[in-house]
């Protein structure tokens, strides 16, 4: 009945117990607050059953920030362990715990923190920027979020019931096969990612169709904001890459749960095939993460330089060059697997080639600033921090793109420093810029600028202190994922400096949390009354902050790139005709689908196949039910639209 689940699954070491206690502490706090303030109905009605991308975006971001904190704690633990586990000392984590920590760290940061922030911003901004009222498939959008959320919950559940994978964030076989990882850890990893991955794939389809089919009249593709172009590139990547992940995870699951032999050491399995497949997904994945961050920078730099984006057409070409190239570079993740000189060289050259369009983008941003009037607000600081750090990481990347050089750097801390530079300097700084830039639009009040700046400086300085030592350690022959090393190697000092760096990043996170608290406390003093706090250029700034549920009362045609800027300059206020607007209804089915996906995955992990079958049958039923439902929208009458608008709605 309970498969392989028994009370041993609840046996944990001290470190895990602290983590579990913190999580439960937070949960109890949240439940108490909701009960005390009598907000359960509100939570259900306004948030959990919503199909509004503005609400879904906030939920994505909230989940992502929570997972970012969890991943950051993992990072803190790793740095501490590596700073003290030298010679006779073995630190405070045993090898198994350490390996679970870094596996969780990577998995959480990529799949839940970065992807979550990305989808949050995309949900919020894309419909508004293209002048639409919703996404193409609102129900699917909500379902995507709940699948993402449940994937995250599976990872968190593994901390309490059972354990997580110790095979790294990509779980290479043979290590991830039953022979070497018999316990539930890898299964949790598989199903968390499989469920979240399906959510991502569906979201990719959704936003592709949204951008291609729901732009405002007059907004041709070449008049679209650059952020939307970058999202189009990302959704294209998602559509081609995520099915590979789905199939590969499924094959690993089939190996582990049904005795198949895709990637086992015996019976003819081929672990190298897994490495190829997982990176055929994995490389596009990192471009999926970075492109919208580039899109954010395009918006931020133009707005805060008070100038049009330089080289629009070139920027569009650069995005598509990056999209195309990102599919033919995957082998650079395993030059050392022995593919031979010609194959290695080809992939190496393709990898270097990506530096060209990326560089083009940086130059175009710089020349957007050229002859502008630059305001150094927090979003702009994040951009400058990006330029300072990403360039170094890019250099390191091109260095490793030369296969024989990579032979000396692969899987060393140099590699770890490189990809963290790209992800933190590029993705994280980009999404932080986006969050601080669009926060007033999302929540209706501005963030405290000073605390934002403190947070930025801590992140920048902390990042440099944490990762420059790692570049050096790589040259000193240090590999990644070591829970212990000899004193004679002379590595400890640098690990200590890196630990200090991470502590400073932690201070940065503290300032961000403080910024949120202070800004919420002071919100009435910092209300965004005009909807356009930065003197923005694109359509989202033409709505109230936050916008009404239907975004725009009228869908009048646009004529220009930087549509809102053009409207402001023309000082034209188009005549508004109030009409009835149809909006997707709230529905509890997406969260139910998410919950069923969770039980499906949980059942698979613990070999409770009756639960798997039941969840599957229920899923089919729910989907069939929904597919037969025709009353999925409600109408906001014209009089109500007029009332909302006159009470302080749009400015255009």
């Amino acid at each position: 009945m309970l498969g392989r689940l028994n009370f041993d699954a609840l046996h944990h070491g001290t470190v895990e117990m602290v983590g579990i206690a913190s999580m439960f502490g937070g949960l109890i706090l949240a439940v108490t607050a909701l009960t005390y303030f009598k907000r359960w109905k509100w939570l259900w009605r306004v948030w959990l059953t919503s199909t509004d991308p503005k609400k879904i975006g906030v939920m994505y971001i909230a989940t992502a920030l929570f997972m970012l904190l969890r991943g950051a704690v993992d990072a803190g633990m790793m740095r501490t362990q590596q700073a003290i586990s030298v010679g006779d000392s073995t630190g405070f984590l045993n090898p198994d715990q350490f390996q679970q920590v870094f596996s969780a760290h990577g998995t959480i940061m990529i799949f839940f923190a970065a992807m979550g922030l990305m989808f949050g911003l995309i949900n919020w901004i894309v419909p508004l920027q293209i002048g639409a009222r919703d996404v193409a498939f609102p129900f699917l959008n909500a379902t995507s979020f709940w699948l993402f959320f449940m994937g995250a919950m599976l990872v968190n559940t593994s901390l309490v019931v059972g354990e997580f994978s110790a095979a790294g964030w990509l779980a290479y076989p043979p290590l991830s096969e039953l022979a070497y990882s018999p316990s539930v850890g890898v299964d949790y990893w598989i199903w968390a990612l499989q469920i979240a991955g399906v959510g991502s794939l569906l979201a990719g389809i959704n936003f592709l169709v949204t951008i291609l089919r729901m732009r405002r009249l007059g907004m041709t593709l070449m008049k679209m904001p650059m952020f939307c172009w970058s999202v189009l590139g990302t959704t294209t990547l998602i559509i081609f890459a995520f099915p590979i992940l789905t199939a590969t995870l499924a094959m690993l699951a089939l190996d582990r749960s049904f005795g198949m032999h895709f990637f086992t050491s015996y019976y003819g399995g081929n672990p190298m095939m897994y490495v190829n497949l997982i990176w055929a997904w994995g490389h596009p994945e990192v471009y999926i993460l970075i492109l919208p961050a580039f899109g954010v920078f395009s918006e931020v730099v133009a707005t805060f330089s008070r100038k049009r984006l330089f080289g629009y057409t070139s920027m569009v070409w650069a995005i598509w060059a990056i999209v195309f190239l990102s599919f033919i570079v995957w082998l650079h993740h395993f030059f050392t697997m022995g593919a031979g000189a010609n194959v290695n060289a080809f992939f190496g050259v393709m990898t270097m080639a990506i530096a060209v369009p990326t560089g083009v983008k940086v130059f175009n941003w710089l020349f957007t600033m050229y002859r502008g009037r630059i305001r150094f607000t927090t979003p702009m600081l994040w951009f400058l921090g990006f330029v300072a750090t990403f360039t170094i990481g890019g250099m390191a990347g091109v260095l490793m793109a030369v296969p024989p050089a990579d032979f000396q750097l692969h899987n060393s801390l140099f590699l770890v420093a490189h990809f963290h530079t790209m992800i933190i300097g590029g993705v994280v700084f980009g999404y932080f810029a986006g969050l601080t830039y669009w926060f007033p639009k999302i929540f209706g009040f501005k963030l405290n600028e000073r605390l934002g700046r403190y947070a930025f400086w801590c992140w920048l300085v902390g990042f440099l202190l944490a990762f420059i030592p790692l570049y050096i350690l790589g040259f000193m022959g240090a590999t990644r994922r070591l829970d212990h090393y000899d004193a004679s190697l002379g590595w400890q000092q640098l690990f200590i400096v890196a630990g200090v760096g991470v502590a400073i990043i932690g201070l940065g996170l503290f300032f961000q949390v403080l910024q949120l608290i202070v800004s919420i406390k002071d919100r009435h003093k910092n209300l965004d009354k005009t909807g356009d706090p930065w003197d923005g250029r694109t359509l989202e700034w033409s709505t109230a902050s936050p916008p009404p549920v239907y975004n725009f009362a009228s869908l009048s045609a646009v004529d220009d790139r930087d549509a809102f800027w053009a409207m402001k300059r023309a000082r034209v206020k188009p005549a508004i005709k109030y009409e009835a607007i149809e909006i997707a209804k709230n529905t509890s089915l997406p969260i139910i689908i998410g919950a069923l996906a969770f039980t499906f995955g949980f059942g698979f992990v613990w070999h409770m196949y009756w639960l798997v079958a039941l969840s599957f049958a229920a899923l089919i039923t729910v989907i069939a039910w929904r597919a037969s439902d025709d009353a999925t929208e409600y109408t906001v009458p014209a009089s109500e639209v007029k009332r909302i608008e006159l009470a302080g709605g749009n400015t255009a």
């Binding site: 193409a136 498939f137 389809i205 099915p243 199939a247 499924a250 198949m260």
Partner: protein, 190 residues
């Protein structure tokens, strides 16, 4: 949102989904291609595939694709009973296809050539089985959607759904052609 818009967005979105399904199958095909000789001392395709059976399955599925197409045309003309008949035929043919496939699987397993025996067999059962799972989903979808659509008068919303279903069915037919060629034909001839 009027029905015109709904139609074009939904069908377009469904096409995009079919593309992703295509990539999913491509991944399984690529894996099969790499593992097709890893028989671990067990049988190769030549020894276990029956071309006559597979030919029969192919003809059945091709015919079902034709009947689904005719059924959709009938639905578009508003001819409920004809649509029901043609889709009914499609359903029976699909069920027959599935039955033959399951019988092949059961037969192989009983002889000891299950998916646990070698990498080749794992990838064979998974690739062909995934196609079979898609066919099963299609059949369930057909059984739920078609009678109801006919009963409700084949309005534009239901026509949109029938279009997606038929597209799905044709897509599975195309995938089967590849399976027939790459797995069975090339497996037997190599």
């Amino acid at each position: 949102m009027n029905d015109e818009t709904l139609n074009s967005k939904t069908v377009f979105g469904f096409w995009v989904y079919l593309m992703t399904d295509c990539i999913l199958f491509a991944t399984l095909f690529a894996t099969f291609a790499v593992l097709r000789h890893s028989t671990y001392g067990g049988p190769s395709g030549q020894e276990i595939f029956s071309l006559p059976l597979v030919l029969a399955m192919t003809l059945i599925l091709l015919t079902s694709s034709f009947s689904a197409g005719v059924g959709l045309l009938a639905a578009r003309r508003g001819e409920g009973r004809q649509a029901l008949a043609w889709f009914g035929l499609t359903f029976l043919l699909g069920a027959a296809f599935l039955t033959l496939e399951i019988r092949e699987f059961v037969h192989l397993t009983a002889e000891g050539h299950s998916w646990r025996a070698s990498a080749f067999l794992s990838s064979f059962f998974t690739l062909v089985g995934t196609h079979g799972a898609h066919i099963s989903s299609g059949l369930i979808w057909m059984a739920v959607l078609v009678p109801r659509s006919v009963q409700r008068g084949l309005g534009s919303v239901d026509l949109r759904r029938l279009t997606c279903l038929t597209l799905f069915w044709h897509f599975l037919d195309v995938v089967w052609i590849f399976i027939f060629t790459v797995v069975y034909l090339m497996g037997v001839l190599s």
